[in-house]
C-alpha cells in the first residue's frame, strides 16, 4: 500500500462526497479513540472496524483490505476476551499494543482513504460549498498534498543515509534527528516555494470568487450514509 499518486476516478468505483468522507473520518475517530469494550459501544467499535475495510474494497485495495481486517479482528477479539483474563505486566503489554493498533489503525486507514480518493480540487470545492473560510481551506489542502510527499522524502533520506553507511552507526539521538530533520526542512522550504508559484498560475491569488470544474454533489447515498453516521454518534454519546 504505497502513498503516492491519486487514484483515478475510474478506479475508485464508489464515489462518495468529500463532506461524507470527512464525516466518516470524524465518526470513526471519535468512536475508536474513546470507545469502551462493553455493551453497545463494543458493537459500535466492531462496526467502525469494518468501515475502513469496505472503503478499501471500494478503491480496489484488496490485499491491504483483507490484511487490515485480519489484524484488526485479532486485536478486537484480544481486547474483548483475553485482556480481562490476564493480569500484571502481561496485561499491560497486550493492552498497550492492542490499544495502539485498534485506536489508530482504523482512523489511519480512513485518513489514508480520504487523502487518496479525494483530489485537492474536490476537497476545495466541498469546503467552499460549506462556506469554510479560504484561510483554513488552502493550508489544509496544501497539507493533504504534502503528507504523501513527506513520506516519500523521509524514505529517500533514509535510503541516502543507508547508501552512505550512516544510520545504524549514529548513536546520539539528537544527531540522528538532525540528520533526518534538516533535509526534510530544506525540502519543505523548497516545496513551499514551488507550490506558491503553482498556485499563482492557478489564479489562487486573485481576489475573485473561483469557479469549480469538478462535480461535487450530495447524492441519496451520501445522505443515507450521513444519517447512519449521525445515528451512530448519537447512540455513542447517549449510552
Amino acid at each position: 500500500m504505497d502513498i503516492g499518486l491519486q487514484l483515478t476516478t475510474e478506479k475508485t468505483g464508489l464515489k462518495i462526497d468529500p463532506r461524507t468522507k470527512i464525516m466518516i473520518l470524524i465518526t470513526v475517530g471519535i468512536i475508536m479513540m474513546s470507545g469502551k469494550l462493553t455493551g453497545v459501544e463494543y458493537i459500535l467499535r466492531i462496526i467502525c472496524t469494518f468501515v475502513p475495510f469496505v472503503l478499501l474494497l471500494s478503491v480496489r485495495q484488496f490485499k491491504s483490505a483483507f490484511g487490515y481486517l485480519f489484524i484488526l479482528l485479532c486485536v478486537e477479539l484480544c481486547e474483548g476476551f483475553i485482556v480481562p483474563k490476564t493480569q500484571g505486566v502481561l496485561n499491560l503489554v497486550i493492552m498497550i499494543i492492542c490499544g495502539i493498533i485498534s485506536r489508530f489503525g482504523p482512523s489511519y486507514l480512513c485518513g489514508w482513504y480520504v487523502v487518496k480518493s479525494t483530489s485537492v480540487s474536490e476537497f476545495v470545492t466541498a469546503m467552499d460549498k460549506m462556506y469554510f473560510p479560504k484561510v483554513i481551506t488552502i493550508p489544509m489542502s496544501v497539507m493533504f498534498r504534502y503528507f504523501p510527499t513527506l513520506k516519500e522524502e523521509y524514505s529517500s533520506i533514509h535510503d541516502a543515509m543507508k547508501m552512505r553507511g550512516i544510520g545504524k552507526t549514529v548513536k546520539n539521538p539528537f544527531v540522528y534527528i538532525e540528520y533526518i530533520l534538516v533535509p526534510i526542512m530544506m525540502s519543505t522550504v523548497q516545496i513551499a516555494n514551488d507550490l506558491s508559484a503553482a498556485s499563482l498560475t492557478k489564479g489562487l491569488g486573485a481576489h475573485k470568487k473561483r469557479t469549480h470544474i469538478c462535480d461535487v454533489r450530495m447524492k441519496v447515498f451520501d445522505v443515507m450514509l450521513i444519517v447512519v453516521l449521525i445515528a451512530m454518534l448519537v447512540i455513542f454519546f447517549i449510552f
Binding site: 474513546s34 480481562p84 496544501v142 539528537f174 534538516v182 519543505t188 507550490l195 499563482l200
Partner: protein, 194 residues
Amino acid sequence: MQKKFEIKDLITVGVFTALYFVLTFIVACLGFIPIFMAIMPLIAPILVGIPLMLYFSKVKHFGMVLITSVIIAILMFVTGHPYPIFIFCIGAGLLTELVLFLGKYESIKACVIGSSTFSLWILGMTIAFFFSFRESYFASLVDGYGQEYVDKMMSYTPTWMFFAMIAMCLVGGLLGGLLGAGVLKKHFKKAGMV
C-alpha cells in the same frame, strides 16, 4: 514588516503545519505508555521546536500562527480529542502571536519564547486527566483499558502534575527553540534560506 496577507503565506502555513503535525503525532503515539504520557509535554516541544523555529523565521505578520493553531485543533478534534483542545490551541496561538509581534517578527529571542508559548497547546491533549474531566475520563478508561492501566496512569497524574506540565511545556519549548535556533544557524543561514 509586510502587512498584506498573501497566498504564499497560506501555503507556508500549510506545509509547515503538516510537518509540525506529523512530528507531534509521532510523539503523541508514545503517550500510550503511561510514563511517556507524563513527560510527553517535555519531549514533544523539544523535537518539534526545530521546524517550528524555521517556520517562525518565515512568519512576517499577524495571523499565520493563529491559523496553524486552529488547523491543529481541528485535526486533533477529528482524531478524537475532547473539545477543550480548541480553547488551548487558540489561546496558545494568540499568545504566540503577541510574543512574535512584540519581537516585530524579526527577533530570534522572540521566536524562542514563541516556541515556548506555542507548546502550551499540548496541555489541551492532557487536560482530560485533570480537574472536572478527571473522574469521568478515568471512569471511561477503566472499561477500555483495564484497572491496571488506569491505576498506573492515575499515579502518574496527580493534580499538581498539571502545573508541572505547564512548566514542562514552557521549558521544553524553550529548549526546542534554542535547539532550533542552533540548527538554523548551522545549516540554513549558510545556505541563505532564512
